[in-house]
């Protein structure tokens, strides 16, 4: 029993005011407001073990952020139970605060007029950490996160990448057991993204921090996570290891060929032609039904200029799951 997060039959509904069109509709809604209930999260259950890096993904409006907000004590749940580090987030928020760290990519928690250094000291004070410990921690983080260049620049003057790094540090000052990251790499360039991923991995390894991540960036998920939970329309549609996800969906290969001459191909069992532009061909091969060599036999090898065989990208696997195809 090493579960740090336990969620059972969790549900959350929102009440939204519905207004009819036009002026008359507005008047009506004053006298007799109508409400519509929206199920943001519908009866989900899952567990997270200590030291895991888990991706919690889904399309916009799927209920990811709502779930993360319930786990961190920001929103109240309607039904079901949550236990984070054995604490009910809605009942003992302040106690939970000492155990978890949160980074919301779209919401800054640093004080923008203060320098990162002052911010870290401030966060240290909020979490009742002795000053010499904070000093030591800051020194450590400056090195790991390479902050020395801008440690004394007010946060409002930092670039997005620098700011996000500081946000993560600020949420790590009190050595949380679980780190919740809600789209931490949103709006960052590939280099900074890579940088942040490495840091997250390092945090996980060195401090055994459990990482709970939501992201729309497939790269984040692919490079960081060993387990994926996919949520759609408030329900969990998949909860599996990354390996299984890939294995299960990787029975298809994509062959792209560039030909010297125009060729005409017909669909065959297990081979679908995705694109046929005469000289350029794109085939999808279902290797459960046929083999790559069968597919290659269809093409005259003397006329090939270029060929590329690849896996179905994770991105389209995930897109298909979002759309409900299997």
């Amino acid at each position: 029993m090493n579960n740090v997060i336990e969620v059972k039959n969790l549900s959350k509904t929102f009440k939204v005011k519905v207004k009819e069109k036009g002026f008359i509709g507005s008047l009506k809604s004053i006298i007799k407001p109508k409400y519509k209930t929206i199920k943001a999260v519908n009866n989900i259950s899952f567990n997270v073990e200590k030291g895991e890096i888990i991706a919690f993904i889904g399309p916009n409006g799927a209920g990811k952020s709502t779930t993360i907000k319930m786990l961190t004590g920001i929103l109240y749940n309607n039904k079901g139970s949550i236990s984070v580090m054995g604490i009910d987030p809605t009942k003992k928020r302040k106690k939970l605060a000492y155990e978890i760290g949160t980074v919301f990519g779209q919401k800054e928690q640093l004080w923008t007029h203060l320098t990162p250094y002052d911010n870290f000291k401030f966060f240290g004070a909020i979490y009742d950490i002795p000053e010499y410990v904070v000093e030591k921690k800051i020194k450590e983080f400056i090195e790991i996160f390479e902050l020395s260049e801008f440690i004394n620049t007010p946060v409002r003057n930092l670039s997005l990448g620098q700011r996000i790094r500081c946000e993560i540090v600020a949420s790590l000052i009190h050595e949380p057991k679980i780190l919740f990251l809600d789209e931490p790499t949103i709006g960052l360039d590939p280099v900074v993204k890579e940088n942040i991923r490495t840091l997250i991995k390092r945090m996980n390894k060195e401090y055994k921090t459990t990482i709970f991540l939501t992201s729309h960036d497939v790269g984040d998920i692919e490079k960081l996570c060993k387990r994926v939970i996919i949520i759609n329309k408030g329900e969990i549609v998949l909860d599996d290891s990354m390996e299984n996800l890939k294995y299960h969906y990787l029975n298809k290969k994509i062959i792209e060929v560039k030909m010297k001459e125009k060729v005409n191909l017909d669909d065959k069992d297990g081979i679908t032609i995705l694109k046929d532009k005469g000289y350029n061909l794109k085939l999808e091969v279902d290797i459960k039904k046929t083999s790559i060599s069968e597919a290659l036999k269809l093409i005259d090898s003397d006329k090939i200029i270029d060929i590329n065989i690849s896996n179905v990208p994770l991105e389209s696997i995930i897109t298909n799951i979002y759309k409900g195809e299997k």
Partner: protein
């Protein structure tokens, strides 16, 4: 407690950058004082006469004191920031930090207004000495007066927060802030309660102006231990009731909060 001291310190440091903005407010402060100086000069045709028990000097010092309170406590944190935090759902993000949002905001407010208060206090005293001259003031009373001022500022902050908490329930709480502003300006700054018609006076003594502007200013111009005791008792009652109301509104509001972008 240490964490709130840190918040106080952080805002104080930040506010030091804006001292020049505070100085710009001097102009309207001085114009107002000048207008009231003319008004009272006109009304008191005989400088030794009393109106509603106040001498001319006391009357002008009263206005200087209430204006000082008004100018130094006006702060956008309690109004705009809290309203924004509620409207944007940002208030929810402070829920999982180990501090209380309400105490945090009040501390921040004090960090912001304390420099303003000191500057306006100096200005008020200088203005008073130049326009009116010294009034009868005993330095022994100072500790009592400080307590009353402090409570006045705290109660004002709590009432402002209560009004801002309305944003949980209605689209826009600014009209209520506007009403509160006008109440303070019309009833609490220009004249002491004694100047109003007799039938109004008991009612006015129940309004917040009694504890926020009238009480402290009255004690500066005309201290007596009995009125100190009355004022401080009313302040404590106000403090308890408003704190309870604020806590209830906050707790209830936060529960019904929907954070956008879920």
């Amino acid at each position: 407690m240490k964490k709130y001291l840190n918040i106080f310190k952080a805002t104080l440091i930040n506010e030091l950058q804006y001292v020049s903005d505070i100085v710009l407010g001097f102009l309207s402060f001085l114009i107002k004082i000048f207008i009231f100086l003319q008004l009272w000069n006109y009304l008191y045709d005989d400088p030794s006469s009393l109106i509603a028990g106040f001498s001319k000097d006391q009357m002008i010092w009263y206005v200087i004191m209430t204006e000082m309170i008004w100018y130094s406590t006006r702060n956008k944190t309690l109004v705009n920031q809290v309203t924004d935090d509620i409207k944007s759902g940002g208030i929810a993000y402070t829920l999982n930090k180990p501090y209380s949002y309400l105490i945090y905001i009040i501390t921040k407010n004090f960090g912001e207004i304390s420099i303003k208060f000191i500057i306006y206090m100096i200005l008020a005293i200088v203005t008073g000495f130049i326009f009116v001259g010294p009034i009868d003031f005993n330095i022994i009373n100072l500790p009592f007066i400080i307590i009353v001022f402090l409570l006045s500022f705290i109660i004002n902050a709590i009432i402002r927060l209560i009004i801002s908490m309305l944003s949980f329930y209605i689209e826009d709480s600014t009209p209520f802030h506007w009403l509160y502003d006008k109440m303070i300006i019309v009833l609490g700054i220009i004249f002491p309660i004694e100047v109003f018609p007799l039938f109004l006076q008991p009612i006015l003594k129940f309004t917040p102006i009694y504890v926020i502007t009238y009480g402290p200013a009255k004690l500066v111009i005309d201290f007596c231990i009995n009125s100190f005791i009355t004022i401080i008792i009313v302040q404590i009652i106000y403090l308890i009731i408003t704190s309870i109301l604020l806590t209830l509104m906050y707790r209830k509001g936060v529960r019904k909060l929907n954070v956008n972008g879920g």
